[in-house]
């Protein structure tokens, strides 16, 4: 039992890295664009379908790079044509409902273009097997996903800390008025941030499709754990989102070993406890967008 628990805990962490990857893009957009992006799941699915269509021509790796960029381009178009109009409405309900509606449209378009029938996204054979027969749950693919999550977080962290645009995004997160007074084009900054968030969603979506299969509704199942990861980790903190993802993955993995029926409810319970004990989440800043 002890070994089994260890296996499950470890496995949960792998799953958590996955949640974290999904949460990162969402957290980024929540931060600077002040938008709860309900279309994030639809963007994940869309990028995965792009990759599915591209794979025969450019291979899995080509798809993994090009498809998120295509999704990002669509994200840019949506941000500049629709979401941008709503920034000066203080109430977050508008962007929330807008993206909620966009998710409907995108899901419907995916079904219309690619069909309701689920599709297999083929992943390279060398990734698609366990590395050792004892630790069989460590497949190349899962380790690869964990790697991408870690590298993604590190890269994002680096960009935010050391590049001009990153420093501006961070500054914008805490005080939009000041940095726009300093002559930074806030619209451009927000567009860039949105696109980065969508590209992250795209990568997460493709990696999910490698494990779960493609169907028009795949985004629905993926977005909620990402939300919870953000709330647990603390809104406004990217590291928090990473931690939040790992924690709920771990909790859900361990719960599955004892009482599978609660494996989904448990992440909401953790969130509830967190909110009571520490309302701003693990690493969240007080009153960032309140």
């Amino acid at each position: 039992m002890g070994l089994l628990l260890l296996f499950n805990a470890f496995n949960g962490l792998i799953q958590g890295a996955f949640y974290a990857l999904m949460a990162l893009g969402l957290a980024l957009i929540l931060g600077l664009n002040n938008t709860i992006n309900f279309a994030q799941g639809a963007f994940m699915a869309l990028a995965a379908y792009f990759a599915f269509t591209l794979t025969p021509y450019v291979g899995f790796w080509g798809g993994l790079i090009i498809a998120p960029l295509l999704a990002g381009a669509l994200g840019l178009a949506i941000e500049t044509s629709l979401i941008r109009r709503l920034y000066n409405r203080k109430d977050p309900i508008y962007t929330l409902l807008l993206t909620f509606g966009l998710a409907f449209i995108m899901q419907d378009m995916i079904r219309t273009i690619w069909g309701a029938q689920g599709k297999p996204l083929e992943i390279p054979q060398f990734l698609n097997q366990p590395l050792s027969s004892t630790y069989f749950f460590l497949t190349g693919y899962r380790l690869f996903v964990v790697g991408v999550a870690l590298v993604g977080t590190a890269a994002l962290f680096g960009v935010l800390r050391f590049t001009r645009i990153g420093i501006r995004i961070r500054a914008g997160n805490s005080d939009l008025e000041t940095i726009s007074a300093l002559g930074v084009n806030i619209y451009l900054l927000r567009s860039a941030n949105f696109v980065i968030g969508i590209v992250f969603a795209g990568v997460a979506g493709i990696l999910a499709a490698g494990q779960l299969g493609l169907n028009p509704n795949m985004g629905d199942a993926l977005i909620m754990p990402a939300f919870v990861a953000i709330v647990v980790g603390g809104v406004g903190s990217l590291v928090g989102s990473l931690l939040g993802g790992l924690i709920i993955g771990l909790a859900s993995g361990i719960t599955t070993a004892f009482y599978p029926a609660a494996s989904e409810v448990v992440i909401y319970i953790i969130m509830g406890v967190m909110l009571v004990v520490r309302p701003r989440g693990l690493m969240g800043q007080e009153g960032l967008f309140e």
Binding site: I93, L98, F100, G101, I230, V231, V235
Partner: protein, 331 residues
């Protein structure tokens, strides 16, 4: 008929006579239209159950709108209280009682109490945080409904209960579509009246003041969280009542009733109709339910149309259709 609460209540003192009479006429017209639905709806190609559905959604959205439009709290989790009301009614009818009102009362109480207990947790944060917390609490109930097979019927939903007969004085009336419609209308009228009274009392004034400027109110010594929690509880009770009625209408309760996408439907109904207007949710429900009913029969791509309704109403009608027309007639 219905105007912005701000300007409406302002008028009460100096221009009470003209303001009141216009409003009274509006309410009477609305009342007559709603009371005669079973007579005229079939003539324009509708059916009575559809009207019941419109009123149920309007009721839920009106409850939500107390929090959303009048207190400024963006809850994305009210489907949970709606769904709890539905399951409460379903379980009561299935296992405990054949009394319509007892079942409806218990259902409303279950959903309302859940909102009363959970509201204080959610109101500890504001803005986007508040929304995310409400959505997550809502999803928790959704998953409980799916997992607790033995009680809720799990994924298959709760079936095996029927609308009981209405216990009138001395005899039982069977509840066909028309009877059901009038039950829903009565519930709607009572809830609307209560909401109207609250909104025109100091409690309602405090809600609106919180929406307008919670900082100002805090520095007048009001603990705004407490008031948002009260608004949350009231709106939860009304959503639960609507959910209970929904269970009676369908003879069925399914986990989808608790899902966040249902909360999204209620929100868009409020916004589409006009969330600053008392009757906004009613207008929104009429448009949303009818459009969805019609479009989903006409095209497989109905989701895109509904999505477009979201996008268009958010971009072009931020104050909803009633807000839009009020502004036009005002200026």
């Amino acid at each position: 008929m219905s105007t912005d609460l701000a300007t409406e209540t302002a008028r009460t003192a100096p221009q009470a006579r003209t303001g009141m009479s216009r409003r009274t006429i509006g309410n009477v017209v609305l009342g007559v239209v709603l009371l005669t639905v079973p007579l005229w709806l079939p003539l324009v190609g509708g059916y009575t159950d559809l009207a019941s559905r419109v009123l149920i959604y309007a009721l839920a959205a009106m409850g939500l709108n107390l929090l959303l439009g009048f207190t400024g709290g963006l809850s994305f989790g009210h489907a949970a209280y709606f769904g709890l009301g539905a399951y409460g009614v379903g379980l009561m009818l299935k296992y405990e009682t054949h009394s319509l009102f007892l079942a409806l009362g218990v259902g409303t109480l279950v959903g309302g109490l859940a909102a009363t207990l959970l509201g204080p947790i959610a109101v500890r944060r504001r803005g986007i945080y508040f929304s995310m917390i409400t959505i997550a609490i809502g999803q928790m109930f959704y998953f409980i409904a799916i997992r607790w097979n033995t009680l809720t019927g799990g994924y298959d939903g709760l079936s095996g209960f029927a609308r009981p007969k209405f216990a009138g004085p001395g005899h039982l009336l069977s509840m066909g579509p028309t009877g059901m419609y009038y039950l829903v209308l009565a519930a709607f009228a009572i809830a609307a009246l209560l909401l109207w009274i609250v909104l025109n009392a100091p409690l309602g004034h405090a809600f609106v003041a919180i929406r307008e400027n919670h900082k100002r109110l805090t520095f007048l010594g009001v603990s705004t969280q407490r008031y948002i929690a009260i608004s949350f509880a009231i709106s939860g009770f009304i959503a639960a009542l609507a959910g209970g009625l929904n269970a009676l209408l369908d003879g069925f309760a399914s986990p989808n009733l608790l899902n966040y996408s249902m909360s999204g439907d209620f929100l868009i109904i409020a916004v589409l109709g006009g969330m600053r207007n008392f009757y906004g949710p009613l207008a929104g429900a009429v448009i949303f339910v009818l459009v969805r009913d019609y479009v989903s029969s006409v095209t497989d791509n109905w989701m895109s149309v509904i999505g477009l309704v979201f996008v268009v109403s958010v971009i072009f009608f931020p104050m909803g259709v009633l807000g839009f027309f009020n502004r036009k007639s005002g200026s």
